[in-house]
Amino acid sequence: MQNLWETFLTRRSDLLAALGEHIQLSLIALLLALLIAVPLGIWAQNHPRFAGALLQVTGVLQTIPSLALLGLLIPIVGIGTAPAIIALVVYALLPIFQNTYTGLHEIDPAYTEAADAFGMSKPLKLVKVQLPLAMPVIIGGIRTATVLIIGTATLAALVGGGGLGTFILLGINRNDTTLTLLGAIAAALLALVFSWFIARLQKWPWRVSVGVLAALALAFGGTAVYQAVAPQPETIIVAGKLGSEPEILINMYKQLIEQTDAKVKVSLKPNFGQTSFLFNALKSKKIDVYPEFTGTVVTSLVKPTAKQNQAIANGADSYPIAEKLLNQQQLTMGKPMKYNNTYAVVVKRDFAKAHQITKLSQLSQFATPLKAGFDLEFNSRQDGYKGIQSLYGLTFSVQTLDASLRYQALDGGQVQVTDGYSTDSQIRQYHLLALQDDKHLFPVYRGAPLMRQDFAQAHPQVVKALNRLANRITEPEMQEMNYQVNVKGQSAAKVAKAYLKAHGLLKEAR
């Protein structure tokens, strides 16, 4: 609880921004859904056969899993808020349409008969009699839709749509439940507030409700239009994957770029998504730069030849190979940084000292097998425990552990060896040591800014700024920075700035 409160305090401006995005996303989706579903519900009154079909269609739409729907939308409308809003609208259609239709349908026929007998025109009957009488049911549908939208909008973070989902995803990614909880609580509270607000809406006179809705529509529509039309300074969009490390790096990028050209504005999209997602976003020009690893490029993003693969396996630098293959896709990578964020075999610092160990091969000195806690994937990978057995000739007494528990098990003494990533903040936190991979079993993962060639050509000063990080940042330095953000709760921007300053990469403020 204490923890939650502290996280809230340090993160409150981020949370507020995410909340704003979440509200905007939800309101736009809700208004669009209203504009579609309410007229449809009214129209369906006189077309009962279509009403049945429409109910079926909207019902089927709602059964599409949200992730699948987002996945289907990305190739069509790209990433960002567009697919998120479309998906939300799709989900909101059913409850609003259904309740509008049944609400109108279930009005006591005596009222509509009276309205007819008094010579009311159809539009007048709708506005004066039918809609007001159906309003409680329609409002019920809108409330259901709203709660649904606000809940589902947390998935927008997966497609770069922002919102409170960024907190939830980040929490899951960093195994930090307080962050997840913060995002979830905020979303739940938002749903409650909205639901209450909409319930109030029907207590107000008809005209006031319409007025309020119109004002909201104008406010949000207006900002959207203004944003689209207003002239803007050149903005470079820098995105990052989930986690503290990419967030620190993109903050360095921003500071480096902005100091070279005061006219350029850098917009950051931290925790923007998974690898393939960012890669596609880059290619479709939704973003301009993101930090990527050379190892990831050659294993997942491009297709090296068998010869190239062999060379990499033999310990060749993957950067030139990655760059060459990326060029074929009109992409380019800046110069890589120093640290290698790859698999690491980790032991306690005390243990290493006591046995004078710094390298992985030195573990062969133990006669009885050491107790190791590996996560499932590492345990079964060729470039994991299998390779350790064959290349180093080492055998451990292995216990497979969930990734989140390994460090605690090591710290608590249940195991003596574990796997990790060489820049994990826990290495710093628990006073551990990542052993040197002296036989080059693990692939090299060096970070570098990835961008499109056309972008790089148009912005040589940006490329130059980014390359100031070439061969900078060691593994302990990265561990330390991750530790500052993950454990100490420092903002990524502050940690990034401190590093750049300390290493003379940042000119003093003008």
């Binding site: 006591d108 005596a110 009222y111 008969e113 009276a114 007819d116 007998a117 008094f118 010579g119 009311m120 025109s121 007048l124 004066k128 009699v129 007001p132 009488l133």
Partner: protein, 309 residues
């Protein structure tokens, strides 16, 4: 002058006639009652007048013009409508409900306001007390008073009422019946009033049309009916009479009967109910009473029932 004329009107649903070959005329200013058992086609007949239902065959004339040749909105603005379900719009105040049609007709605002108050006063509801209330704050009887105000507000030449009081308690029903008679005398509006209650028909109607299974059996004034009842009417009437009334000891009808020297076949404390069966068959009954024996026929019993309400 005839305001309304049915000319061989038939309404069929899926081939089944629910109103069959109906011809009748209703004169200006008449309070015309359609009476008959449930399912006899009264509502169907009534709704054909304001074209909520279109006839399958035949024509209806309003002021000598065929209904289908009249503009639908004008027709409906000229024909008030009162429903059994009352159906005051629950989202509007009493005043707004009454003002509805005058508003649609674009009457000036202050004239509408004045008319609303006038109407409320006419049905014995204090305007300042009721004008701004919501319908659900009113009793059933009060609601139907407002329903009548709503139908009459724009001064239509004709008003249709479909069993307007059958959902009300007997006391409100009686006072609303009296109110309708009073309003009718004052406004001279033509009223077509549907009911299944024979007592109500006898009490209200200038003329009464008796319907059974979609057909018109008899159209006559209450006096004619009392003097010369068709047997079916008598049995319908007796069936519709209030149960308490039918418990009346027969000697109370002495003043309606004809004195006789014949021997009485019923004791004087026999309940009225017991003698209805022979009367409905057109026979008369003789009663042995201390004050002198007397004879009773159906018309005389009708006369009593019509008075007794």
């Amino acid at each position: 002058m005839n305001v309304l004329k049915f000319d061989h009107v038939t309404k069929r649903y899926d081939g089944r006639a629910v109103v069959e070959d109906l011809s009748l005329t209703i004169g200006e200013g008449e309070l015309f009652v359609l009476v008959g058992a449930s399912g006899s086609g009264k509502t169907t007949t009534l709704k054909m007048i304001n074209r909520l239902i279109e006839p399958t065959d035949g024509d209806i004339y309003f002021n000598d013009k065929r209904l289908i040749d009249t503009d639908l909105r004008d027709l409906r603005w000229n024909i008030g409508y009162v429903l059994q379900q009352i159906a005051l719009f629950p989202n509007m105040t009493v005043g707004a409900n009454i003002a509805l049609i005058p508003q649609m007709k674009h009457w000036p605002k202050d004239q509408i306001k004045q008319r609303v108050d006038e109407m409320l006063e006419a049905v014995d509801l204090a305007p300042e007390k009721y004008r701004d209330r919501m319908p659900d704050e009113l009793s059933g009887g009060e609601q139907q008073r407002v329903g009548i105000c709503r139908a009459l507000a724009s001064k239509p030449p004709m008003v249709l009422m479909d069993e307007p009081f059958s959902a009300l308690d007997p006391i409100s029903r009686t006072s609303l019946q009296d109110m309708v008679l009073r309003l009718h005398r004052k406004l001279k509006t033509t009223i077509v009033f549907v009911t299944h209650d024979m007592n109500e028909a006898m009490k209200l109607g200038d003329r009464i049309a008796v319907m059974r299974s979609g057909k018109l059996l008899q159209v006559a004034t209450p006096e004619e009916i009392a003097a010369n009842p068709a047997t079916s009417f008598v049995s319908d009437f007796f069936a519709g009479a209030a149960p308490a009334l039918l418990e009346t000891p027969i000697f109370e009808l002495a003043s309606f009967g004809t004195p006789t020297t014949e021997q009485g076949s019923y004791a004087e404390d026999t309940p009225l109910q017991v003698v209805l069966a022979p009367l409905a068959e057109g026979k008369h009954v003789t009663v042995a009473a201390q004050a002198g024996n007397f004879k009773l026929n159906a018309s005389q019993v009708l006369g009593y029932l019509a008075k007794a309400k």
